[in-house]
């Protein structure tokens, strides 16, 4: 313990002796921190937003077409499959959900832009969305819908207009009334969202055959065994239907973006690049520290200092750089997350577990630089000093 304390004090004195060099080393670690935090932040935001539609759907079991990969690009599922599912004694009800893209005209600028529309029986309560069930009564009227208050601003200041009483918009070339707001959020697949009844959905999306649905949300009777019911349904239904629990459905959505879209890989690649840049900078600093002080280190060895002591000095330097760089790196990332959330409308959240993970990564990065730099210590041979 005593020698660790003395070694780290020596490391601290060496680091702080040249403030400019220390500053550049710390800046390198800060930079690596920022890169890693931003990549992880975008990575998580992507998955949070990409699965937001899936997470908005209630139901114990989800029926999905075998041909559908993701909720943002679905193939139809015959409505008859939902009726078949009712044959299972544990199934209480099955709600059809419709998903599609329509063209929205910005009421202020008249610019047209594609928007995601979700449709289901307003009384089914199938959407776990703030503001959805309260508006059930109004959604049953002809050509009415709810607007996602967290859509990108390109769709127009719909919230402000509602407050003024200007509720009319043009969607899919139909004059439609916005009767309220809900909150879902933009994702990589959809810049904005609308929510409406199943009947109004078919008024907006004309090319859809009425007997095809996109998602079937199965509600089981109270106390039913979800996985047993899932197995029975999968056996009961033809192969064109995938039966998933709600968690599996969300995981499937996440896996789509992680694997087939290669987006997960891109962000992890960015994390790796950040760590490599940080590794090289820290290694450079540590290596030159050792190389410039070889005869001094050799003198210490001659005086009776052990190799372990000198290793402890170099590793202390590495870990001090990690700690010194992480704190400002975390603060800067915090601020940049806010800036990016405002710019992208993605849910950028710097959670404590992410901070802890990055802390571990940065420490490992600095320790690895130290481990490579200490190889130079072997050149400090006290027998060559005379």
């Amino acid at each position: 313990m005593r020698s660790i304390w003395l070694a780290s004090r020596l490391a601290w004195r060496q680091l702080t002796h040249q403030p400019a060099r220390l500053a550049s080393a710390v800046a390198g670690v800060v930079f690596a921190c920022l890169l890693v935090f931003m990549q992880l932040g975008f990575h998580d935001a992507l998955f949070d937003s990409a699965t937001s539609t899936a997470r908005a759907i209630r139901g114990d079991i989800i029926m999905f077409s075998r041909q559908s990969e993701t909720t943002s690009r679905t193939s139809g599922l015959p409505r008859a499959r939902l009726m078949q599912a009712l044959a299972d004694p544990d199934v209480a009800r099955v709600t059809p959900i419709y998903l599609g893209q329509v063209i929205w005209k910005n009421p202020e600028t008249a610019v047209r832009r594609s928007i995601m529309v979700l449709g289901a029986d307003p009384d089914s309560g199938v959407f776990a969305l703030e503001g959805a069930s309260a508006a059930a009564e109004r959604l049953r009227q002809r050509d009415t819908l709810l607007f996602d208050a967290q859509s990108r601003p390109e769709y127009g200041p719909i919230g402000e207009r509602l407050a003024r009483g200007a509720t009319t918009v043009e969607v899919a070339n139909r004059t439609t009334e916005v009767v309220g707001l809900f909150r879902l959020g933009a994702s990589f697949a959809a810049d904005g969202n609308l929510l409406t009844s199943d009947v109004n959905f078919h008024r907006l999306v004309r090319d859809r055959m009425p007997d095809m649905v996109d998602v079937g949300a199965v509600f089981l009777k109270a106390g039913a065994d979800v996985s047993a019911a899932k197995t029975r349904l999968q056996r009961l239904l033809p192969d064109d239907v995938r039966v998933m629990t709600r968690d599996e459905f969300i995981a499937n959505e996440r896996a789509y973006w992680a694997n087939s879209a290669a987006i997960g890989f891109i962000f992890l690649f960015g994390v790796g690049m950040g760590l490599i840049v940080g590794f090289v900078i820290v290694y450079q600093i540590l290596f030159t520290d050792v190389a410039n002080h070889l005869s001094e280190y050799a003198t210490l060895k001659a005086m009776g200092y052990s190799d372990h002591y000198l290793l402890a000095v170099v590793f202390s330097e590495a870990l001090m750089l990690a700690a010194l760089g992480f704190v400002p790196g975390l603060a800067l990332s915090w601020w940049l997350f806010d800036v990016s959330a405002d710019a992208t409308f993605l849910p950028m959240l710097l959670r404590p577990d992410m901070a802890a993970f990055v802390f571990v990564l940065i420490f490992a990065m600095c320790a690895a630089s130290g481990a490579v730099a200490v190889r130079k210590l072997r050149d400090a041979n006290p027998a060559d000093m005379f």
């Binding site: 005593r2 003395l6 004195r13 060496q14 002796h17 040249q18 002080h293 005869s295 001094e296 050799a298 003198t299 210490l300 001659a302 005086m303 009776g304 200092y305 052990s306 006290p382 027998a383 000093m385 005379f386």
Partner: protein, 231 residues
């Protein structure tokens, strides 16, 4: 009384295979505690190799080398590190740590001893620096000291831990005549105060006067071992 250094039949080689070359031949040497011995000889005579072997900086290959009664042949790395802690080293270059003050450099020699606490280290180092005439420059970094002052800090560092043996290799080579003589006298005085033996390798004829005994080496052998005629 046990000799500080006791060498019998020491031989040493450098290189491997075809290139293997013998550097030291049948060295016999012993020094009494407190004795000051100067080792001279032309370059390549093997005196520096002998010094590194005595300093436990190289492993002994053949023959016997006892330091303070302890056999170094076959000693482990840890044994050799432990022996080195009883030796004060002074090099041709001062080799002070540039990021430490003069006193912190001297304290480095004491930090190896866990029985000395921080306050004691501080005062011992300050006293030692005062003795080498640097009492006013305790907190100066090496870059703010002259060549002679730096070498005096190195002398203070070598002697502050009360070593049983001081090994010095050309300690005056990088100094001018006056400063060199001052440093040599300083080493002699401090070592005699503490009863430490000194083995000093030098070419510098001006400092031979401090020796009790002068040993000349040539081609890896000791060619004479005489009492210092200057005494």
């Amino acid at each position: 009384m046990m000799p500080a250094i006791e060498i019998k039949g020491l031989e040493h080689w450098f290189g491997k295979g075809e290139l293997r070359r013998q550097i030291l031949f049948d060295i016999d040497l012993s020094t009494a505690p407190g004795e000051i011995v100067i080792l001279t000889g032309p370059s390549g005579s093997g005196k520096t190799t002998l010094l590194t072997l005595i300093g436990a900086l190289r492993a002994v290959e053949q023959g016997s080398l006892r330091l303070f009664g302890r056999e170094l042949r076959g000693a482990s790395d840890d044994d050799r590190i432990a022996v080195r802690r009883r030796i004060g080293f002074i090099f041709q270059q001062h080799n002070l740590l540039g990021f430490l003050s003069a006193r912190q450099n001297v304290e480095m020699a004491l930090e190896l001893d866990p029985t000395i606490d921080a306050g004691e280290r501080r005062s011992l180092a300050s006293v030692m620096l005062a003795k080498v005439g640097l009492g006013e420059r305790l907190d100066h970094p090496p870059s703010k000291l002259s060549g002679g002052q730096k070498q005096r800090v190195a002398v203070a560092r070598a002697l502050v831990g009360n070593p049983d043996l001081v090994l010095a290799d050309e300690p005056t080579a990088s100094l001018d005549k006056v400063t060199g003589q001052e440093v040599a006298t300083l080493i002699e005085r401090l070592a005699r105060e503490r009863g430490a033996s000194i083995l000093l390798v030098t070419h510098d004829p001006r400092i031979l006067g401090i020796a009790d005994r002068i040993i000349a080496m040539e081609d890896g052998r000791i060619v004479n071992a005489a009492e210092n005629p200057c005494d």
